[in-house]
């Protein structure tokens, strides 16, 4: 029975090969075959997930050689269902969206190939299969992003993606080789068992799990566009829209997958988790700041993904591994729907401006704007700052009270608090006839979302990590000294309250924006820095120009021999 699971990555692969070999001139047949293969793969993945939920255990399918094994555990089964589901939606969408593009059958073949490779990656049962699939994702993505060969920009940005992925492959290869040499196996379950028995194996004075934790985190950073390795992501919009959807919904989440796959290793790699937290935090802040300053909606979406990926990596750094998987799935569906809907929204906006063609309505709306009405500031402060923390706190208290003793959960609650307060504050700033009605509507939505999120993420965590002690160990290893943590929490609270005050009073005091004002220079400096995207891409470009110059110079000296 288990061997049928092989069909899940094999079906899209066979579809891709069939299209490339026989259907390159038959557009309809290629699309039909591709969609059919993905539908079947999705149904099979859902079946195996259901079977696992029904009580069947993990399965390790060993290939005859040294590599090629598949590991069907909760992580791979849930990601199989998610990836094949998203890919199926993208396939169905592409049937009409790409119909006038050249290379239509080739596009479907590459889409199938990409799906097959991702499915293989998330279910890899050994290090070599993982490295092979990890590498191939970059190669196939290059051709998908560069599908429209007539646009040099598409090639340029596909190249950026590819080179960042190659840089990120290096630490993964190294981690794999260190693990193989240290624990004498390529099989992931065997390596994890041996790490559990001997976590203190040393290399260069460092415990191997800690060293590999750093390397794996670095590989995850490149794949999930973390700060300094992020420049490729916002520029990949030159690829076809379905590819953007698949990439932002699935491929870029590989970092979160890698953390979860190596969770037994990260149980012994506390410093690597702290590092991941710091990088994730910086990425979340920088990504969100850059998102706000973009004037190109697609690039703005790209930076939004970067911010979300930062948050996902930060969750891993805090030990909330299952939450990161839940986050990547939720973000995947959300971002895929945004991308796939973007064309329709643009088309709709071009045809209809949203204003009813009624002269009376127009004159009333345009000449008599609604009188702004807001809540008093003390009420607003109480509602936007206190309510989120009460709602979030209570929902977690009722679902899993023990989690309150974990530092990671406390920090995440802080971020939930900030997000909730921000949502309520934005609602408060809206000018409405009846601000109480608006605020109560937002509050009810907020409560439903928080309770739903808490419940789902809790049960999701139980499914992904049935051994509760493993989850707790991850929280424990991600923790820091109590005094440092208390100081950090205090600092966060101060930053939060200060940020709230700054936002609330900014408009009335008119800080920064007036020319000649006290903070105007600083405001302009930060604006310039952000509008140039912190000069990261410029620095890389200059460095690559210098390297190419030296490459040419050596070649000239040696007569190109």
């Amino acid at each position: 029975m288990d061997f049928i699971a092989l069909g899940i990555p094999l079906l899209p692969l066979l579809s891709a090969l069939t299209i490339l070999a026989f259907l390159r001139q038959r557009k309809k047949a290629a699309a039909r075959l591709s969609v059919a293969a993905l539908t079947l793969a999705f149904l099979l993945a859902a079946f195996f997930l259901g079977r696992h939920l029904g009580g069947s255990g993990d399965v390790l399918m060993q290939a005859p050689g040294l590599w090629g094994s598949l590991w069907l555990d909760p992580l791979s089964l849930i990601l199989w269902t998610f990836v094949s589901g998203i890919s199926l939606i993208v396939h169905v969408y592409s049937v009409r969206y790409m119909v006038e593009e050249p290379g239509y059958p080739r596009f479907f073949a590459m889409l199938d190939l990409m799906t097959a490779v991702i499915l293989l990656m998330v279910a890899a049962g050994d290090l070599i299969t993982l490295v092979v699939a990890w590498f191939l994702v970059g190669v196939v993505l290059y051709f998908l992003l560069g599908h429209d060969a007539t646009r040099p920009a598409a090639g340029r940005y596909a190249f950026w993606t590819q080179i960042t992925y190659r840089v990120g492959d290096l630490p993964l290869w190294f981690a794999a080789l260190v693990l193989i040499q240290s624990y004498h196996s390529v099989s992931l379950p065997v390596i994890f068992a041996r790490i559990g028995e001997h976590p203190d194996v040393l290399l260069w004075g460092l415990p191997v799990p800690e060293l590999c934790g750093f390397l794996l985190a670095l590989a995850a950073f490149a794949r999930s566009a973390q700060f300094l390795l992020h420049t490729w992501l916002p520029y990949t919009m030159d690829g076809p829209t379905p590819v953007s959807a698949l990439m932002h919904a699935g491929i870029v989440n590989a970092g979160g997958f890698l953390f979860n796959r190596f969770a037994p290793l990260f149980e012994h790699a506390g410093w690597a988790l702290h590092w991941a937290f710091a990088v994730g935090l910086v990425t979340a802040v920088v990504g969100s700041a850059l998102m706000l300053i973009q004037n190109d909606i697609k690039r703005s979406l790209g930076y939004s993904t970067m911010g979300q990926m930062g948050f996902m990596v930060m969750e891993c750094g805090l030990g909330a591994f299952p939450l990161a998987v839940f986050h990547l799935i939720a973000h995947g569906f959300f971002k895929a729907s945004l991308f796939l809907g973007s064309g329709g929204v643009i088309g709709e906006a071009r045809q209809r401006d949203g204003v009813p063609p009624d002269p009376v309505y127009t004159s009333v709306v345009e000449r008599r704007p609604i009188k702004p009405s807001r809540l008093p500031w003390l009420v607003a402060a109480s509602l936007t700052v206190l309510v989120p923390v009460i709602v979030i706190g209570l929902s977690h208290f009722f679902v899993a009270e023990r989690l309150f003793y974990e530092q990671g959960v406390i920090i995440l609650l802080f971020f939930g608090w900030v997000t909730g307060a921000q949502a309520l504050f934005a609602a408060h700033k809206l000018s409405q006839k009846d601000p109480w009605r608006l605020m109560s509507g937002i509050l009810v939505s907020f409560v439903i979302i928080v309770v739903g999120y808490t419940l789902i993420s809790h049960y999701f965590g139980d499914f992904l990590y049935p051994d509760r002690s493993e989850s707790l160990r991850l929280y424990e290893v991600a923790s820091i000294q109590h005094l440092s943590f208390d100081l950090l929490a205090l600092l966060l609270a101060l930053i939060f309250v200060g940020g709230w005050m700054l936002t609330f009073f900014r408009e009335s005091l008119d800080w920064g924006r007036r020319p000649g004002g006290r903070w105007y220079g600083l405001y302009l400096g930060i604006y310039a820095l952000l509008s140039r995207e912190l000069y990261v891409a410029d620095i890389y470009q200059r460095a690559s120009q210098i390297l190419l110059h030296w490459s040419r110079r050596f070649n000239v000296w040696l007569g190109w021999c």
């Binding site: 070599i128 590498f135 190659r166 080789l177």
Partner: protein, 255 residues
Amino acid sequence: MLAAITVFAAFLVPLFPLSWVFNRLLDSLPMTTARALAVLALPQLGLLLLQYGVAPWALTDPQRRALVALAIFTALFYAFRALSARDLFIWTRLNLSAGLAVIWIAWAMGTAIPVLQILALTWSVPAALLTLLSGALAARLGGSYLGLMGNLVEPLPRLTASIVLTVLALLATPVFPSFFVLFGTAMQLPLSWILPLLLLLPLWGWSCGRLFQDLLFGAYRGEAVEDLSLLSSLMVFLVLSGLLVLGLYGSGGVL
């Protein structure tokens, strides 16, 4: 005498600075076919010679370390130099030199000569194919210099597809055998040597990206030219399929 034979082998299985001679020799050959044959034959000849040279187990530890360091330097140096090469044949032989340098590492780690001969083919075969394809490109466009006219897939779909696939085979893309040879060689190395060797990955990724950028993207503004014949492209496809099969089934032996 044994040392002299070993040094002479380094002319044929490129090792810096003797690799200069290997490249000069390939460059001086007048015909594409002769170049392709030389790409296939010279490394095999070098490995045959090596069988009669110094045995790897006879090397002292400092000698072995020096050889591995030199081989890694050669691989990185040639991969680095290939970054700025835009002529397909020059690009091919520079990257071939980088790949074949890895064979020296495997030799220093004690891999048997017959095995090394097969390993060398994993780089020589795609390089020989690329040499032939660069000749085909030069016959159609007057030279194999890329970057003057982009989007060659429009006038030459078969030739371009053949070049793309062969480049991937040469630059250690899974599941072509060169990938497993690189991985297997890295597995044999002491951990401190692995990281420098793995710098080949970003260098090859960069090199491949620059080549594809020139080959695939942009607008073709040249005259209409005849594509590679169906038979020739089938031959290329067959050879690459053979390499794929070797990668899939032979990887167990390499690893």
